[in-house]
Amino acid sequence: MGELHVNGEHVSKERQIGTVRVEFASKRTVVVALIGEHDLDSRSALRATLAYATESRNLLVDLTACTFIDSAVISLLLATQRRLEAAGRRAELIVPPHPGYVTRLFEVTGIASVFSVHSARSTALASIEEFALLGQKTA
């Protein structure tokens, strides 16, 4: 029965709000990592981030450190994918290699069939870069 923690502010515990890390991996690809929980509350911010990040790039959404997403976020991801595909680009996902909330969600919702899903960042990057080069050649 030890002390869990001692602090002055309750916020760090109460609001484990999700954060987003945007990484421009190359001229053609951006990696957006969702960390923590993402839900209706963070949807707007996430939408703006995705819009900005994917202006000219393919999107790789890294869900490795994501602990929760709800239908609002899934819908946003689907909408983003649709928008990018319409622009001739791609949106793919990286999910944790081990079973957890995200894998369970994907299993239940069948989203895995809509997205190209990778279990490692390197293969995901390689896959999406390959697609991008191909697209350039065809263009």
């Binding site: 109460e14 209706l40 239940v108």
Partner: protein, 837 residues
């Protein structure tokens, strides 16, 4: 009042005694001086008398010899003697000295011619027909001087017997000396002088010219030197006596005819015996007077000392009564103290104290002591009704010293006490403002008129009691207000929380007199979080109760806005002024996560008992100084896990603070009791704490005790939160913890969280699209099932369909076994269920 007490003061009595002793000393000196003077005078008188006796003795001897010589002269002038007719002379002499009869001269008569031959003799004695004239000094003396002569002693005459010879010249018609006519007397004849002087056997000594004692067989006194100094008439008061011993007094004179010295020599003791006796008698009288006076003074001093002792006792009793009355909080304390004081001062008296009713309609018996005679309650009631009321109504003290007076003045009382009461004293209790507050009565079984000082004492008691009553009345009024205030704040029941036992106890301070500022309170928020507070405002009475009320209001007001106990304390801090102080503890319990967060401002640490192991730990982190001293920023909070079965005990310092003990000792005692009672439910645990801890501490302070016991993980989670998307993170966090505690699998847990989130999103987006409203989430974990119900009270707002929306319901359906959405005028309900593994 004080003068009356001072009059019997010990200093006053001491001065009186000293004065009396000085007076006695003066008396002794004066009387002694007078007696001594008188003694001296008596001695002088005795000496004068002695001298007079000596002179008298001298004149007695002179007149004796004068008479004898006159007789001898007439014989010398008779014809036979003048005519030198020896034969006629012989006949004449024989006639004068008849044989066998009493002659003129004791030892005979003789005529001696110029040749010194005894020619005629009539001697008394058988074998001495002629006088022995071997010592013829008297003959030669007469022949030489031609005048009569008295000898000292004469040897011979009768042989060995000494006599005194008187000699007279005889002459013929022509005046020629013819011879000497001599007559002898025995010294014993002189003894007549002794008889004349009435001196008894002692003292008178007749010394002849040679210094021989005439009467004492012509012996010489031992102290011949003294004899030679005795000339003329005089007296010596302190000298060596004739026998050579000292301390004699002498009176002396010289007789004219024989020229002898008459001495009265007596020891001073004998001479002054009368004077001395008188002196001693006087001394004895003085001594007797002094003894009597000293006895009287001793009596006075003893009496004074006893009086002083009594006064000291009274003073102590007054002091004690002052203390008792000074600390009295209730009217009954005052009357109890007054009765005790009276009973101590008058142990034999029936003491009755009656106080005015609250509605000022009369007197009620408030206290009594039975003293010497037992009385029934009815009798005491009659004393109150008649005797006390008499003094109360008259407004003055009533003294009845004797039984007839009592019988006539208070017949009812006399009868009620079966005639046992003989005297009576009563006085009203009047305060400084002149209001009558009650009365006291003293009844004695004997005639006992109270002395002035006793009356003063009782009056003083009455005055003190009245003053104390003024104070207690005000205090009781304030106390009543404070009690009402505090009880109104504490009487509310603590909220019922599923799976949690939550009880509060309040124990008013030991004497139950002063209202403390202790409080406890608990609020169950609609989101299931329970805020608990325990605190203690420094001080007592209405002021403390008011601040306590403010703090509790602040707690309640902010409990719904904040989930942080530290933040609650910061809000409460705003109500505490700089000159006020309170210790407070805020605890926040989330029964779904079993987390306990706490923050303390100067409050003694709460105890946490692990239900299984009975390990007691103190909540020792997140401590800050008391409210009133602490800066808001210094208030911290800490979180601990409170597992099912665990008990938290929060309390105020009255439970553990004992004078002379460190507070830690008190807390350790509480911890040991709590630790050994871990299996008890909250109510019996509280009982045991009050039975086993409070008596050891014996504090008069108030005690607030609050026990939180987590019985089990709640079977259902029922929360209501604002429909704020931002709160979803918290809801999920709490629900995740609860679901884990309920033992769901990871997948079941994740599915549930997703489904609840979706249902909440639904309410947020459709129920309250414009502004947030209440959102209720109820998750019930039954036997192998999980039923979820999410309700809002908004109207259903259909949103424009878009690609981004509308995936919630399918998602819910995907993770749940059933999913229904109902909406009507009251709002929307999402009903989900799922079978569990």
């Amino acid at each position: 009042m004080e003068e009356v007490f001072a009059r019997g003061g010990i200093a006053y009595r001491r001065h009186l005694a000293m004065g009396a002793l000085l007076a006695v000393l003066l008396l002794v000196v004066v009387a002694g001086t007078l007696a001594w003077g008188q003694y001296q005078g008596a001695q002088r008188t005795a000496l004068g008398n002695e001298r007079a006796r000596a002179v008298l003795a001298g004149s007695v001897i002179d007149s004796y010899f004068g008479g004898e010589l006159a007789t001898l002269r007439s014989i010398a002038g008779s014809p036979p003697v003048v005519g030198r007719d020896t034969a006629s002379m012989q006949r004449y002499f024989t006639r004068l000295q008849p044989a066998g009869g009493h002659g003129l001269f004791g030892a005979g008569l003789a005529w001696i011619d110029r040749a010194g031959v005894a020619r005629v003799a009539a001697l008394r004695g058988a074998d001495a027909r002629h006088p022995d004239l071997s010592d013829r000094s008297f003959v030669s003396q007469v022949n030489a001087t031609g005048t009569p002569f008295v000898s000292e002693r004469t040897n011979g005459w009768f042989g060995r017997e000494h006599v005194i010879v008187m000699a007279m010249p005889t002459r013929d018609l022509r005046g020629h000396t013819t011879g000497v006519l001599a007559a002898a007397v025995r010294p014993q004849a002189l003894m007549i002088t002794r008889g004349a002087l009435d001196l008894g056997d002692s003292g008178l000594v007749i010394l002849d010219r040679e210094g021989r004692s005439v009467v004492g067989g012509f012996t010489r006194p031992k102290n011949l030197a003294l004899v030679r100094t005795l000339g003329g008439t005089g007296v010596r008061s302190d000298t060596v006596g004739l026998d050579g011993t000292s301390d004699h007094a002498l009176a002396y004179t010289t007789s004219a005819i024989p020229g002898w010295t008459i001495v009265i020599d007596r020891p001073r003791a004998v001479l002054f015996s009368d004077a001395r006796r008188g002196f001693f008698l006087e001394l004895a009288l003085v001594a007797a007077a002094v003894a009597i006076l000293l006895f009287l003074i001793a009596l006075i001093v003893l009496h004074g000392r006893r009086e002083a002792e009594r006064e000291r006792t009274r003073s102590r009793q007054r002091h004690e009564l002052s203390n008792i009355l000074g600390s009295a909080s209730l009217g009954s304390d005052v009357s109890d103290g007054l009765v005790a004081g009276l009973a101590e001062a008058f142990p034999e008296a029936l003491c009755i104290v009656a106080l005015e009713d609250a509605d000022h309609h009369g007197l009620t018996l408030s206290g009594s002591a039975e003293g010497a005679f037992p009385s029934t309650a009815a009798a005491r009631a009659i004393v109150v009704e008649q005797a006390a009321t008499l003094a109360y109504d008259s407004g003055a003290a009533i003294v009845i010293g004797k039984e007839p007076g009592l019988r006539s003045t208070l017949p009812g009382v006399h009868k009620a006490l079966l005639g046992a009461a003989h005297s009576f004293y009563a006085t009203p209790l009047v305060n400084r403002g002149g209001s009558r507050l009650g009365a006291l009565c003293l009844l004695f079984a004997h005639t006992h008129p109270l002395s002035e000082s006793e009356q003063a004492q009782v009056a003083w008691y009455a005055e003190q009691a009245a003053t104390a009553l003024d104070r207690t009345t005000a205090f009781e009024r304030e106390h009543e207000v404070a009690v009402r205030l505090q009880r109104s704040l504490l009487s509310e029941r603590l909220p019922e929380v599923e799976g949690v036992e939550l009880i509060g106890r309040y124990n008013a301070g030991g004497a139950g007199l002063e209202v403390g500022g202790d409080w406890y309170d608990a609020v169950r928020r609609s989101d299931g979080i329970v805020h608990v507070t325990v605190g203690d405002v420094a001080g007592h009475g209405v002021t403390a109760a008011v601040l306590m009320g403010q703090l509790r209001n602040a707690f309640r007001a902010h409990a719904y806005e904040h989930t942080s106990p530290a933040e609650l304390l910061r809000r409460m801090l705003r109500h505490v002024d700089e000159d006020e102080m309170a210790t407070a503890l805020c605890l926040t319990l989330d029964p779904y996560t079993q987390e306990l967060t706490y923050a303390s401002a100067g409050h003694p640490p709460s105890l946490l008992v692990d239900g299984d192991a009975a390990v007691v730990s103190r909540l020792g982190h997140a401590l800050a100084p008391p409210l009133g001293y602490v800066q808001a920023s210094a208030i911290r909070e800490a979180t601990v896990e409170l597992p099912a079965g665990a008990t938290l005990v929060a309390y105020t310092d009255g439970l553990v603070e004992r004078r002379g003990w460190s507070i830690d000792a008190g807390i350790d005692l509480l911890a040991s009791v709590v630790g050994s009672s871990a299996a008890l439910a909250a109510e019996p645990l509280a009982d045991r704490i009050f039975e086993e801890v409070a008596p050891h501490i014996g504090s008069h302070d108030d005690i607030a005790l609050l026990i939180v016991r987590l019985l089990e993980v709640p079977r259902r989670m029922d929360i209501e939160v604002p429909s704020d998307p931002a709160s979803m993170v918290t809801i999920r966090r709490r629900m995740r913890a609860w679901l884990e505690l309920r033992g769901l699998t990871d997948d079941e847990r994740d599915d549930t969280l997703l489904a609840v989130s979706e249902a909440c999103n639904n309410a947020i987006e459709h129920g309250y699209p414009l502004e947030p409203g209440p959102l209720r989430v109820l998750v019930e974990h039954g036997e192998g099932t999980l039923v979820i119900r999410v309700e809002d009270r908004g109207a259903w707002h259909p949103t424009s369909p878009s690609f981004e929306r509308g995936r919630g319901i399918p998602l819910m359906r995907a993770v749940m076994d059933t999913a229904e959405i109902e909406h009507d005028g009251r709002g929307t309900r999402v009903l989900l269920s799922r079978l569990l593994a």
